[in-house]
Symmetry: C2
DNA sequence: TTAATAGTGTCTATGAGACACTATATC
DNA sequence: GATATAGTGTCTCATAGACACTATTAA
């Protein structure tokens, strides 16, 4: 008998233990060449004073909408203001172990967000409690959020391989070196500049030239780099694979 | 303010509209060289008489456990009997649009299951209402289950590329031709026998030889094929990519 | 002037895919 | 014997990665 069929035999809302559904967001961005995640400090028990992923109840809205609302609330961005519209959001996975929240049964639908570099969440707003932290400095998190973050990082690293989502971390116009810095920050390893350059330009639809050149070169010299914008590809073919470590495979 | 923090200010279960959480399973298998999905016929309203994915309420258990329980109930298999243990289960994604169930807010965590060829669900058991149907004959489904099935098929096709999960569709010992038939059924296209054979053997940890040879060749002749079992790889490197269609990329 | 970077050229090893071929089995 | 299959050999083309090199810019 399916759950839906059970409804037909007279569903009594009070007959079941109450459950809640929340969304939690692993929002990633790159600042100063390092991968950061958006966190909030919890005010109350349990886990008072701990850091946690931003999240909240799903209201009368879809899951995607709830996740976007959470990102907006915690970053201080508003829909339609441009920057929030550039945030890439996708569902990560759901977590529902009994006991993951000590108070009641809470199911969390986790989302993964890729954002271009954003200002600090504004003081004096709802977002005042949120902040960006380098992912390699994140210690313990409330609830099972450390596991959610780890899953989000895995997904992000993998997504850079076969989708053009690295472009979600940079501005609308960017240099190949900026794009390479995204890969380096997310993967945690340097990439060969020459080979990366050729590869990025050779994958159809990954980037397209703006015809423009940056006004200045880097701080330590070099030619002025050309500017590109994101292309129309949804998948990278051939993929931009990271060096495979044997231990990942077995 | 996060959902968890709101709890602290005095959570009143009756203050929120009741929500339910179910699991729905896209269980796939291969019969007679064709990809099949496990369906149930709904007995009651809404969608009475429609086909639906098997699923039900999450009880006092984790999400994975709930999904495994549903698969067991609808296939008639029991934990520990062997066949159910060979079923590969992974979370697909969650669905929570308001209105996806006309009666109340229902969040569904969908799972994807890969099963070796199984007997028809046993008559006279809970599983009597379930049946395997070729995926290309599935018409409309109840609720948003058609979209869930489509997402599951996408995931399955993609998973065959970079994981050894094709081995979850065959017996513990199998021939390379059987493995190739899995790819052909899931991807919906024939593969070059010679190239597939060499590729399957060359990917480290994909398959390992049993040293045995099948007792009989195929019905239409040929040498007796060697038998293999699944290897210890969790990822295929290099991946076994399907031919790319340009329209998938843009 | 120094030093770093953008961008390109080239070489090699690897893998995908097309095609061909032999040996072996069933009907 | 006719025919299909298992398994292997070989050739070509595309790609990843190593390395080298030139031109250009900031400090």
């Amino acid at each position: 008998m399916t759950g839906e069929e059970e409804f037909l035999e007279g569903y009594d809302p009070g007959a079941y233990a109450p459950v809640a559904v929340t969304v939690d967001v692993v929002a990633l961005t790159i600042r100063d060449g390092r991968l950061h995640v958006l966190l909030v400090e919890r005010g109350g028990h349990p886990y008072a004073g701990w850091n946690a992923l931003p999240g909240g109840f799903v209201q009368q809205e879809g899951l995607d909408a709830a996740a976007l609302r959470e990102v907006g609330e915690e970053t201080g961005l508003r829909p339609g203001e441009g920057e929030l519209d550039r945030v890439h959001l996708e569902q990560l996975r759901s977590y529902g172990d009994p006991g993951r929240d000590p108070r009641m049964r809470v199911f969390s639908v986790a989302y993964l967000a890729f954002a271009p570099s954003l200002p600090d969440p504004r003081a004096g707003t709802d977002a005042a409690g949120a902040f960006w932290m380098p992912v390699d400095e994140v210690g313990e998190l409330a609830f099972d959020h450390a596991a959610i973050l780890a899953d989000g990082l895995d997904r992000a690293r993998s997504k850079l391989e076969y989708t053009p989502l690295a472009t979600a971390f940079v501005g609308t116009e960017f240099t190949i070196a900026e794009l390479r810095a995204v890969y380096a920050a997310v993967w945690g390893e340097e990439l060969h500049p020459g080979n990366f350059h050729r590869k990025a330009l050779s994958v159809p639809g990954f980037v397209e030239s703006t015809g423009e050149t940056a006004a200045r070169a880097g701080e330590r010299g070099g030619p002025k780099p050309k500017l590109y914008r994101a292309g129309d590809a949804r998948l990278l073919h051939p993929a931009l694979l990271r060096p495979t470590r044997e231990e990942d495979v077995r």
